[in-house]
């Protein structure tokens, strides 16, 4: 095969500087006047008689990367014919490699949650584009100014493309330290596999230890089906319970107990006070005993990892934000917002509700909750919000409550929605009035600016009322 030197040119890309790389491909900084962003060229090592999986992984990466967009992946530039001049040209992403951060672990819990949130946000964006990464690890994550950027889609899977790589191989593909139990068993289609890897990364950032080490054999990788890692707080009691709960829920072997959505992990990392922490931790000897019992009782390993959330379950939005105005108590409009929220949640069993109400403050920076009376107003509103949602009968881990204090309710709702990757907003609209038309209503602004679907709920205007002269 051809070996390239600095200064060589491939399809108009000039190789500027060779970068350190792994064993699959060489990496080059490159120049091409046709593209206005810094470029990286990835050229696979294709030695005659070499490992065929190199070229198959390269093919998978090319197919998937060129279909991806957004801030959380490198921009695709071009690619060469695999049979003649194989290369992928993409954006050179500047930032801090996560591998560098894991080298400094354990990190403070706030820092772990912040980094975890960035990665969860990137995963949510990836999964929305129907792609599962399947090889998430610190080496494949860059913390850039624009957020986390995921690299290397050589093992990734696109739900609408043939799995040319997976069908060709029967051995589990992934990185031993982070591979999910269902991937160990050969399954390559569930976004929850990336959340398992995220859990392993958070574990490592919080404790400084890899939860499963780096087993070199298939049997070694399979151990994670039976043996749970030592809980993070066994390393350091300074790790908060909520963070431990999030990490362990990411790392559940049974997918019916694991997070199903990156957006849900993101939301929990951003709202630690809403995380459901089990009252009693399972004692270590009980866990070991469960492992041994599973070893004997379960003959079918597939049943240990549970079923992936099917496509039918993914029909609706994962996170629903219900914005309700309780300034004057729970009125008819609040009741109708509740009804609509119930309908949206019913579309999807694993959806999850964030109830939001806004406490209007007059001046920025002077929040009423700082003084005693303000604190009381805040608590009253929280109680009212919980009471409003009570009839939905959602289990604790499907619902969270947020009293936001803000000058502009619309901005507060929009900001929350964007920050927590909300999939659908339900908001009420008061009936039209001259002043409302003039100033613009909350719902109008939410509809105009939201990055997701919005249901606007309005009470049906009674015919006689409408016919009255203004």
């Amino acid at each position: 095969m051809e070996r390239y030197e600095t200064g060589a040119s491939i399809d108009g890309f000039e190789l500027v500087e060779r970068l350190p790389s792994g064993g699959m491909a060489s990496l080059w900084r490159a120049k091409n006047p046709k593209f206005d962003f810094p470029l990286l060229l990835k050229i696979p090592f294709l030695d005659p008689g070499g490992d065929v999986s190199v070229i198959l992984g390269f093919e998978a990466e090319e197919l998937i990367l060129k279909r991806l967009s957004g801030a959380h992946v490198p921009r695709y530039a071009a690619s060469g014919n695999l049979a003649t001049v194989p290369y992928i040209a993409m954006e050179f992403v500047t930032g801090i490699g996560l591998a560098e951060m894991t080298g400094r672990a354990p990190l403070p819990p706030d820092e772990v949650a912040r980094i975890g949130g960035e990665i969860a946000k990137a995963l949510a964006a990836l999964h929305r584009q129907k792609v599962v990464h399947l090889d998430l690890k610190p080496e494949n994550i860059i913390l850039a100014e624009r957020g986390a950027v995921l690299l290397d889609f050589g093992l990734a899977r696109h739900a609408e493309l043939p799995d040319l790589l997976g069908e060709e191989s029967s051995v589990p593909m992934g990185t031993a330290a982070y591979i999910s139990p269902e991937q160990v068993l050969g399954e390559r289609s569930d976004p929850a596999s990336d959340l398992f890897a995220l859990g392993c990364i958070l574990y490592q950032l919080a404790t400084g230890e890899e939860p499963f080490g780096r087993p070199a054999t298939f049997a070694g990788m399979k151990r994670r089906l039976y043996h749970a890692p030592k809980p993070p707080r066994d390393f350091d009691k300074a790790i908060p319970r909520w963070l431990e709960a999030i990490i362990l829920r990411c790392m559940e072997v049974d997918r019916s107990r694991r997070y199903g959505e990156a957006a849900h992990v993101l939301s929990d990392l951003r709202n630690p006070d809403q995380v459901v922490v089990a009252l009693k931790r399972v004692p270590a000897n009980k866990r070991a005993w469960d492992g041994i019992r599973n070893l004997f009782r379960r003959t079918d390993e597939k049943s240990l990892v549970g079923k992936p959330a099917g496509s039918a379950a993914r029909a609706g939005p994962p996170i629903v934000l219900a914005a309700v105005d309780l300034a004057n108590g729970s009125d008819a409009l609040a009741g109708e917002v509740l009804n609509e929220t119930a309908r949206v949640l019913a579309a999807r069993e694993d959806s999850w509700l964030a109830c939001v109400t806004v406490l209007k403050t007059e001046i920025v920076g002077n929040t009423p909750s700082v003084d005693e009376s303000g604190r009381l107003v805040y608590l009253q509103r929280l109680v009212a919000l919980k009471d409003w949602a009570r009839s939905l009968h959602l289990p604790e881990d499907r619902i969270s409550y947020h009293v936001l204090e803000a000058v502009s309710p619309a901005d507060a709702i929009l900001n929350y929605a964007e920050h927590n990757d909300v999939g659908h907003i339900v908001v009420g609209a008061r009936s039209s009035s001259a002043i409302r038309r003039h100033l613009g209503s909350v719902s109008t602004k939410v509809v105009a600016r939201a990055l997701c679907s919005v249901s606007v709920v309005r009470l049906k205007v009674i015919e006689e009322q409408r016919q009255l002269p203004p």
Partner: protein, 246 residues
């Protein structure tokens, strides 16, 4: 280069017209009719004459087993199919028989092979319904792309030298990638009698520069076709199945 491939039209005028309209909007460089112009459906004369016009205009047309059965003899067919063949024969004229009889069993154009059933002995009308059949079809030709119809169920088989072909069910209206490393067997869905539970007519659109092939679905008025089947005295099931796509 872009190629539209239409297979298994089966004398379904409504489906054929709807697909030709969709193809017209795509303005492909080449049109291929992949066989089984007739059989099952109520409009054999219309479809054969339209096909003859298209061939006049540069389209390729391959012979299918129903075309041969009408032109020669209905051997080895199901009862409904045979009834429809007899019905069709009574309605066609000499020039139609002549057109069908002269159609080639397969046709090679650059790196693409077009054949109705399988490249493995095309005259045997073998079905490509599994990996083994796909493997035998692929080994019967060195073309990079083999296009077949006959099963009425869209499929793509990706073949890498030295390993078993990989089966993929292409999604409706979503481009499936073609690989520079592999050979491909593309089983095109049916225009006139889809059997993959989707009653919409199907044709394949190949784009060689984008390295993609798409199974394009075109909804058409199958109620009308079913009504004609009923009115013409053809077996009722032949109309029913159009409504449920099987």
């Amino acid at each position: 280069m872009r190629v539209a491939i239409l297979s298994d039209i089966h004398a379904n005028r409504e489906a054929f017209d709807a697909v030709l309209e969709a193809v017209g909007k795509q303005a492909p460089d080449q049109l291929v009719l992949l066989g089984d112009l007739v059989g099952y459906g109520p409009d054999p004369v219309y479809v054969v004459e339209k096909a003859a016009d298209l061939v006049e205009g540069g389209a390729f047309c391959i012979k299918g087993n129903h075309d041969e059965a009408v032109a020669v003899s209905p051997n080895g067919m199901t009862e409904n199919a045979r009834t429809a063949i007899e019905w069709t024969r009574e309605r066609l004229a000499a020039k139609h028989f002549d057109f069908l009889a002269r159609l080639p069993l397969s046709l090679r154009s650059e790196d693409r092979l077009y054949v109705h059933a399988s490249a493995e002995r095309p005259e045997k009308w073998l079905y490509i319904r599994d990996m083994d059949a796909a493997e035998r079809c692929l080994s019967a030709s060195d073309a990079r792309f083999i296009f077949c119809g006959h099963t009425h169920i869209p499929a793509i088989y990706y073949a890498l030298p030295g390993s078993r072909p990989i089966h993929f069910s292409p999604l409706d209206n979503v481009a499936a990638p073609l690989s520079a490393l592999r050979r491909h067997l593309i089983v095109v869905g049916a225009v006139g009698q889809p059997r993959d539970r989707n009653p919409a007519a199907c044709f394949a659109l190949l784009d060689t520069s984008r390295h993609e092939v798409t199974m394009v679905r075109v909804p058409y008025d199958y109620e009308e076709t079913a009504r004609k089947v009923q009115a013409s005295g053809l077996p009722t099931w032949l109309g029913m199945r159009l409504k449920i796509g099987r």
